[in-house]
């Protein structure tokens, strides 16, 4: 369709003088490659590595696990991801594998970049690997060096040197408190039921958490509980180990998408947690929770972007390999128009996410903007991909409908998109939003 003729970009460049040739771009390379070049060198390396990993290990597993998630053993994949350094990327050396210099400019960019690559191949397996970082984040944000030395250092050494992964999960959601614990306005009246009762040497945890990603497979869980007799401002983060007496995983939810990662109920029945397992300060849980969400939302946005990119790539492959009336689908102008529209959205989402990651500290409003925009666009792009494929769009075998199922969850978790809109205004209320322009 597009012939590389004398009017094309490449050849028209040849007629320019030397300096002109240097100033114009005559290359034909993918947008993925263009985007990669704007990243810091070490992050570029992680992006390429994540792409290679996801093609090698995630792609073949994706359809199998989506069809039958309950017989899937995630440990080999987690072990491999740990060996490649992905499970410790939330911190730089000596606590993790993240590259130091880019990390000092942006704590979340490296995780966001690998999240997109993983989620392009499979939403469920991406969540399985990335939910671990959510569990680790309270340890990091506690800012307590002894905590880092006690928990993060051994985790990194075990993983990096002995390829023995420690999987973590993050437990805030409760049956009666979903959105409430992700929003500072709702939290005041939240019906929080998991309580910590002070006893000699520590606390007894009681109650139930629900929808906990990786809850059933995690070795350690960062659990948030209020002190008995007090309100949500007493929320405290506790590190609970799988082996602790009274702690168990209950029902595993049957989800529409992202099925490879479990969403489990966690039951705390008089679980004794020693005082040394408090993460951060006593009654410092709410601040940790809010900031963990601010850190994780750009990553969820990157996952949404990955789902959408996966749908786009599969639809593109379909259009390149299927004919209609003797002509490849890709050669129809209307298909090209739709594909271009999807690419515009993909690029704008990626730029929004990378922009939101361009700070050392996660910014609440930018994180929420990225999350809401990326997840809404992802659902739209997946629907567009299904639409250009016609009936084939709804077949499991092409994987596009799976991308839609996966993407739909990104509009819900890490605070629904409605809650995130409140978070944007809450953060900006006394600054830009309130500027008197008259």
């Amino acid at each position: 369709m597009y012939i590389d003729n004398y009017l094309s970009l490449r050849y028209s460049k040849e007629s320019l003088p030397l300096l002109g040739k240097l100033l114009v771009d005559g290359k034909y390379q993918s947008l993925w490659d263009y985007d990669t070049t704007v990243l810091p060198r070490k992050v570029r390396k992680w992006r390429k590595k994540a792409k290679a990993f996801s093609r090698l290990y995630i792609r073949p597993l994706a359809p199998v696990v989506d069809n039958n998630p309950y017989d899937f053993d995630p440990q080999p994949l987690i072990k491999e991801a740990t060996r490649w350094g992905f499970q410790t990327i939330i911190m730089p050396f000596p606590f993790g594998s993240a590259a130091l210099m880019p990390y000092l400019r942006s704590t979340t960019l490296q995780v966001a970049v690998i999240a997109e690559e993983f989620a392009t191949e499979c939403g469920g397996l991406a969540l399985l690997l990335l939910a671990h970082h959510l569990g680790v984040a309270p340890l990091l944000l506690s800012g307590h060096i002894p905590t880092w030395l006690k928990f993060l250092l051994p985790m990194y050494i075990k993983g990096a040197w002995f390829a023995k992964p420690t999987t973590m999960a993050f437990a805030i959601t409760e049956p009666e408190a979903g959105s409430d614990v992700e929003d500072s306005i709702g939290a005041k009246d939240a019906h929080i039921q998991v309580t910590a009762t002070p006893v000699n040497g520590g606390y007894l945890l009681n109650g139930t958490k629900v929808f906990i990603s990786d809850g059933a497979i995690a070795d350690q869980v960062t659990v948030f509980a209020k002190i008995k007799g007090e309100e949500v401002d007493s929320w405290t983060c506790f590190l609970v180990k799988k082996c602790m007496k009274g702690f168990s995983a209950g029902r595993r939810e049957k989800k529409m998408g992202q099925r490879a990662a479990d969403a489990s109920e966690l039951i705390f029945d008089n679980v004794f947690v020693p005082r040394r397992n408090i993460v951060g300060k006593l009654r410092g849980g709410w601040a940790l929770n809010q900031n963990v969400l601010n850190y994780s939302r750009p990553v969820v946005a990157a996952m949404a972007l990955g789902h959408a990119r996966g749908a786009f790539e599969r639809a593109l492959h379909f259009c390149n390999h299927n004919y209609y009336m003797g002509k490849k689908l890709i050669d129809y102008k209307e298909i090209q128009y739709e594909l271009a529209d999807m690419l515009i959205k993909l690029e704008s989402v990626r730029m929004t996410i990378w922009r939101s990651c361009a700070h050392f500290r996660a910014c609440q409003s930018l994180s929420s903007i990225a999350k809401v925009y990326a997840s809404d666009m992802a659902v739209e792009i997946c629907k567009q991909a299904m639409a250009i494929m016609g009936d084939a769009g709804i077949y499991h075998e092409y994987g596009v409908e799976k991308a839609l199922r996966d993407a739909r969850l990104t509009q819900i978790y890490e605070g629904t998109n409605q809650i995130n809109r409140y978070a944007i205004i809450e953060h900006q209320y006394t600054t830009d939003v309130a500027i008197d322009t008259i």
């Binding site: 209307e334 659902v379 629907k383 709804i394 409605q418 809109r421």
Partner: protein
């Protein structure tokens, strides 16, 4: 042409609602979020016996006024009645409504050709090359590339079709002289492979024919157009029913779920979602109600517009309703995720919005 009063149409709606309440409700349970297929034969028998499903048999209760029964050929009222029955069924289960819809279309084809059958379960194949359904191809099927062979009254062909455990098959094929409609009353020689789909699961097959043709009849463009129009309208009606029930569920949920110290029905963002869903559903219903039989080419354009509007709006409505449930909406237990999948499937099946828009534009250009 018989006409139906509004009261009679309401009676059909009530009949269908009673069937849903008494029998169809048990078809979906926590172990079978997409329907318990072992119950399907008895449900189909019952729906045939009370006249919801049309059958190509003059003595069958649904022959005249079942979904796409004989009267729908030239009566607007009968079409409205079919649409209402489909929407009512879809409030309980979109898959069952889709099956009734497919059976109705198959029966309608046979009735139009003065054929009778006692069989229940058809396999309906609308030739793959017809999709996207460009208008020029509908009128000139000779332009469609042929991917079947027909010799000595045998058909060798692979295609995608809709149905459930089919007992007979109806296949539309393009020929140099026009459309041909082929009927098989023996499906033993058809290899069927279920295709896993996003929603409306278990009713889509890849069928491989190496079969003797029972009967062959030519189908004029008008017939094909009418059948496509029924097909699209039915999808719109089912989507409207699905969205309506999703909305009802969401409303119930907002009266039970507490967040922010009160029921979520008092939260502004939840009200916005529900308001948007309600407006979309009402617009979709109105699009269906205003459908009228006019001259043949305009019928298909009108049906395409109705389908595009209704399925797009309903898909948005269901996604809004799912959002009201938060994390619970994403789990199979509440049944909302199924409605989301079903509605998105109805949006794409047999001509996605992308192709519908082009089709409508082409029809406009023709005029």
């Amino acid at each position: 042409m018989d006409t139906l009063s509004q009261a009679t149409i309401a009676e059909f709606e009530q009949l269908t609602a009673n069937f849903c309440k008494k029998s169809l409700l048990h078809y979906i349970d926590e172990h079978h979020p997409d329907g318990n297929f072992t119950l399907l034969p008895s449900l189909v028998d019952e729906a045939c016996a009370i006249g919801i499903i049309a059958k190509a048999n003059a003595s069958a209760p649904g022959y005249d006024y079942g979904v796409w029964g004989k009267q729908t050929i030239d009566s607007n009222d009968a079409i409205q009645s079919s649409l209402i029955m489909l929407a009512t069924l879809a409030k309980t289960c979109a898959s069952f409504a889709f099956l009734v819809h497919i059976q109705g279309i198959a029966a309608n084809i046979l009735i139009r050709n003065n054929m009778e059958t006692d069989y229940h379960y058809p396999l309906l194949i609308l030739y793959d090359g017809l999709f996207p359904p460009y208008y020029s191809l509908l009128c000139n099927p000779s332009r469609i590339p042929i991917n079947y062979t027909m010799e000595n009254n045998y058909l060798i062909h692979t295609s995608m079709g809709y149905g459930y455990n089919p007992q007979y098959a109806i296949v539309f094929l393009p020929e140099s002289t026009g459309w041909q409609c082929i009927y098989f009353n023996n499906t033993d020689t058809i290899l069927l492979q279920t295709i896993k789909t996003h929603g409306i699961r278990g009713l889509t097959y890849r069928a491989r024919f190496n079969s003797k043709i029972t009967h062959s009849m030519s189908a004029d463009t008008h017939t094909i157009e009418m059948l496509l129009a029924y097909f699209w309208l039915g999808l719109a009606a089912i989507a409207t029913g699905v969205a309506h029930s999703a909305y009802q569920k969401a409303i119930e949920y907002t009266g039970e779920r507490y967040q922010r110290g009160g029921l979520i029905k008092n939260i502004e963002s939840v009200q916005m979602l529900l308001g948007n869903a309600k407006a979309n559903i009402e617009a979709s219903k109105r699009a269906l109600v205003t459908f009228e039989l006019v001259d043949s080419s305009a019928v298909l354009k009108h049906a395409a517009q109705t389908r595009l509007t209704a399925t797009t709006l309903c898909s948005q409505a269901v996604t809004d309703c799912l959002q009201v449930f938060g994390g619970y909406g994403y789990m199979e237990d509440f049944g909302i995720e199924k409605k989301f999948r079903d509605c998105n499937t109805l949006l794409s099946i047999g001509g996605s919005p992308f192709f519908m828009k082009q089709y409508i534009a082409q029809m406009e250009m023709e005029e």
